[in-house]
Point group: C2
Chain length 413, copies 2
C-alpha cells in the first residue's frame, strides 16, 4: 500500500549527509554524549519546538536562527546537561557552542542548529564539549547515523532510527530520522529530540508546512505521562541532493514526500511511546466519525493519555468504561448514542451501550497483543467511533506500570 | 481568621434536614448502599454536574429537573450501580426511582433529585431499591448524616463530612456537607458525589452562582488522575429554616455565606484528594502573580495533576524541575525570569534560576510534611509565583504511588 520501502542508514541514508557520535565527557556515565549531523550543502531547515514557557537556551537559539534564515548546515546535540533554566550564561554557552562548531567545519555559526538534553538547571560542561568538537568532526561519516543516535539518548532503553525511500521524477528520494525520549519529559533527564534528513528539493515554506503537519500526526500524538519538556525539539533538513525538481507547492510529488515524511515521524514517535518509562506495550488509539481530523486526534490523545486506561491495559483488563469515559471528557461534543468502542477486533460497546462481550477473550487479546502476537510489534489497538463525520486520527501511548512509578519516584537527588 | 466554627452533624447540622443510609442490597458486598437527604420544606436547589459527553441517567435527570424548577425536597442516592451507559431503560429507572420516593414521602416526584455511583453500564437493581425505600424513609433522622455518608461510598477508605456555623442577622446559619470519591473516576466504581445543605434563605439565582463559584475553587481544583466521571454531581440545598432575611444579591451577609459554603466545599474536596487511590499524602499547590484567579487555578491544577510531580512527591524528592516544567506547560503565558518555586518554606527556584538549596533539608521537609508534622494534616505545600499580577489560586492532589497502579491494574473483570 505504501509508496516507499524501508532502507538502512538513518539520517545518513539520504544523499549528502554525514553524522557522528562520540564520548566527550558530558555524561557522568562515560557513555557517548555528543552528536553531529552535517549536510554537505546548506539545507532547507524546518523546526517544531516545545510550546512551554519554561524553555531551554538551545530551543530559543534554534527558533531565532530559523526565523532569520530557514536553512542550516549542521545540528550539534549534547546529552548530559539540558541547558534549561540556566539564564544568560546558558545562552552564552549556546552561542559559543555554535561558534566553535562553525569554526571546526569552516561554516558560519549561523548555519549551526543546537539541541540539548539532560539535567535541567545544569549548564553544559563547555570544556568537555569544546575539546570534543575536533574529535566529533573527525568522526563524521556517511554511516555515522547509529553513532549519533546512540549519543543523543539519556534514559532510553534503545536507540530509535528509521529511513525510507521512494521515487520522485524517476529518481530515488530518501527521508531518514533519529530520535530520543522515553517520557514526554523525564526530569531531570528531559526531552524528546528528533532529527530528520531528506535529500529532496523543497521550498522553505512548503518544508515547514509539511513538517508541522507531520508533527501533528506523530510527535504531537504521543503521550507517556502528559508532561511537556523544556527542550522538545524536532528539526528537519532538506538538502536537494536527490537532484529532483524543486517542490514549491502541494502536488502529487509533494504529497508523496509528505506522506513519507509523516511515516518517518510516526515511526519515531511510536518508538518513543513504546520505550515509555516502565511500558510493557504500545497502545494505539484510532478514532473516527468526528467532524474533522483535529477532533479525532484530540479524542485519541485523551484516551491514550488516561491513567485509568493505561493502568487497565497494564492489568490486561478490557475496561470499556474507562475508554468511554476518557472519550467523553476529551472536549469534543458528541451524542453518547453514537459511541462505539472496539479492542482489537472485539466490539465492547455499540451505540453507547456495553455489549455482552466475552471478557476472557478480550483479556486474552490484550495479553497476546501486548506480547506482539497480532501486529508485528507489541501493540494493543483501541478503536473508537463517535458519529458519521469524516474525521479520523490516531494517537499512541504506553501502559502505566509499577515501574513507571518506581523510575519516577526513585529518580533522585 | 474565619468567621465560622466547625460543628458536628454533617448534612443534618443545618435546621430542617433529616438523612438516612441503609443496606438495600444494591452492593454485592452487603454494605450500606442507599442514602436519602430530606428537607422538611421545599428547598432552593443548585447543582454542578460532570461536563463529559458520556453521562449517567441521574445526571441528565437532575439537570432537567433543576432547569424546570430550582428547588427540591429530597435527594436519593444509590451506590453499587452507576446507571451510566444504560440507555432508555436506565432513564426509565431514574424516573421510577423518583416516583417511588415521591410517593413514600408524599411529595411530587419533581421534588426528588437523584445520584448514582457504582459500576458503569449496569442498571440499578430496581427491586432492591424499591423495596428499600420504605425502610429508608423510616430511618430518616436529624442525626442521620453519618449513615448517609456511609451509604454513598464505594472504594473510599473513609467517609467524608463537615459542618460549619456562622451568624447572620444575629441568628445561627449552618452549612453541612457529605461526599464520596477516591479518584476523579474509579471505574467501574465511578464518581465524585457531594451533597451540601444550608438553612439560610437565598434566592435561586444567587445560590446557584455561589455554588458554581465555590465549586470552581474546590471540586474543580482537585485531581487524582485527571479523569472525569460519568456521574460527577454536586447538589446544594438552601431551605431558609434559619429564618434569616432572604439574600438576593451580593452583600456582606451573602459574602459571609459564600465564604462558608466555599470552605465546606474545599474541606470535602481536599478529603477526596487525600483519599485518592494509593495516596500517601495530600499535595496543596498555591499559585500567585497571575493576571487573574482563573489563570492561577489553571497552573495550580496542572502542577497538582502532573504524574511526574506526583511521583516525585511519593519519592520525597524535591524535584523543582518537574514543578517548573508543569507550570510552563499549563497554558498560561509567563516569562521564565519571573518564576519562583517554594516547597514548604524552602525556596527552590528564584527568578527562573534554581537555587543551591539544601537537598537533604528539602527531602526531610517532604517526609515530615507527608507525615503530618507541619499542617495538622498530611499536606505537602508547593508555592509558585509567576509575576506581579493579582491572581491567586489553589489546587489539591495526591502523590502517585505503586498502590495507584496496583488498584487500577488489578481492578477487574
Amino acid at each position: 500500500m505504501s509508496d516507499w520501502q524501508v532502507i538502512t542508514g538513518g539520517v545518513t541514508a539520504p544523499k549528502g549527509y554525514r553524522a557522528a557520535g562520540i564520548t566527550a565527557g558530558l555524561k557522568p556515565s562515560g557513555l557517548p554524549d555528543l552528536a553531529l549531523i552535517v549536510s554537505d550543502v546548506d539545507a532547507i531547515a524546518a523546526g517544531v519546538f516545545t510550546t512551554t514557557c519554561v524553555r531551554a537556551a538551545p530551543v530559543d537559539y534554534c527558533r531565532q536562527r530559523l526565523q532569520a534564515k530557514a536553512s542550516a548546515h549542521a545540528i550539534l546535540v549534547n546529552a548530559g546537561q539540558a541547558n534549561a533554566a540556566t539564564g544568560e550564561l546558558g545562552w552564552q554557552d549556546a552561542l559559543e557552542s555554535a561558534k566553535a562548531l562553525g569554526q571546526a567545519l569552516s561554516i558560519s555559526p549561523d548555519s549551526v542548529l543546537l539541541a540539548s538534553t539532560g539535567v535541567i538547571g545544569q549548564r553544559i560542561r563547555m570544556d568537555a564539549l569544546l575539546s570534543g568538537i575536533p574529535n566529533l568532526v573527525a568522526a563524521l561519516s556517511d554511516t555515522g547515523s547509529d553513532a549519533a543516535a546512540q549519543a543523543i539518548i539519556t534514559t532510553d532503553l534503545v536507540t530509535k532510527s528509521i529511513a525510507l525511500e521512494t521515487t520522485i521524477d524517476d529518481r530515488p528520494v530518501r527521508v531518514g530520522g533519529i530520535c530520543k525520549g522515553s517520557g514526554m519529559i523525564h526530569p531531570n533527564m528531559a526531552t524528546l529530540l528528533a532529527f530528520v534528513t531528506c535529500d529532496a528539493a523543497v521550498s522553505t515554506s512548503l518544508w515547514q508546512q509539511m513538517l508541522s503537519r507531520a508533527a501533528d500526526k506523530s510527535f504531537n500524538q504521543i503521550t507517556v505521562d502528559g508532561d511537556t519538556s523544556t527542550n522538545d525539539t524536532l528539526i528537519a533538513l532538506a538538502n536537494g541532493q536527490s537532484r529532483t525538481a524543486a517542490l514549491t507547492e502541494m502536488s502529487p510529488e509533494a504529497e508523496k514526500l509528505e506522506a513519507m515524511l509523516t511515516a518517518v515521524c510516526q515511526h519515531l514517535a511510536k518508538a518513543i511511546a513504546r520505550d515509555g518509562e516502565g511500558a510493557t506495550c504500545l497502545i494505539e488509539v484510532e478514532v473516527q466519525g468526528t467532524p474533522d481530523d483535529t477532533a479525532a486526534r484530540q479524542i485519541a490523545r485523551t484516551i491514550a493519555g488516561s491513567s485509568l486506561v493505561k493502568s487497565a491495559i497494564f492489568g490486561r483488563d478490557p475496561n470499556w468504561g474507562r475508554i468511554a469515559a476518557a472519550a467523553g471528557r476529551a472536549g469534543v461534543p458528541f451524542e453518547q448514542e453514537n459511541l462505539n468502542v472496539r479492542l482489537g477486533t472485539i466490539q465492547l460497546m455499540e451505540a453507547g451501550q456495553p455489549l455482552a462481550f466475552d471478557r476472557a477473550a478480550a483479556s486474552t487479546y490484550l495479553k497476546q497483543a501486548a506480547a506482539g502476537e497480532y501486529l508485528k510489534d507489541d501493540t494493543v489497538l483501541i478503536s473508537v467511533s463517535i458519529g458519521n463525520g469524516s474525521g479520523t486520527g490516531k494517537a499512541w501511548g504506553c501502559d502505566l506500570s509499577y515501574d513507571y512509578v518506581k523510575i519516577n519516584a526513585e529518580y533522585t537527588t
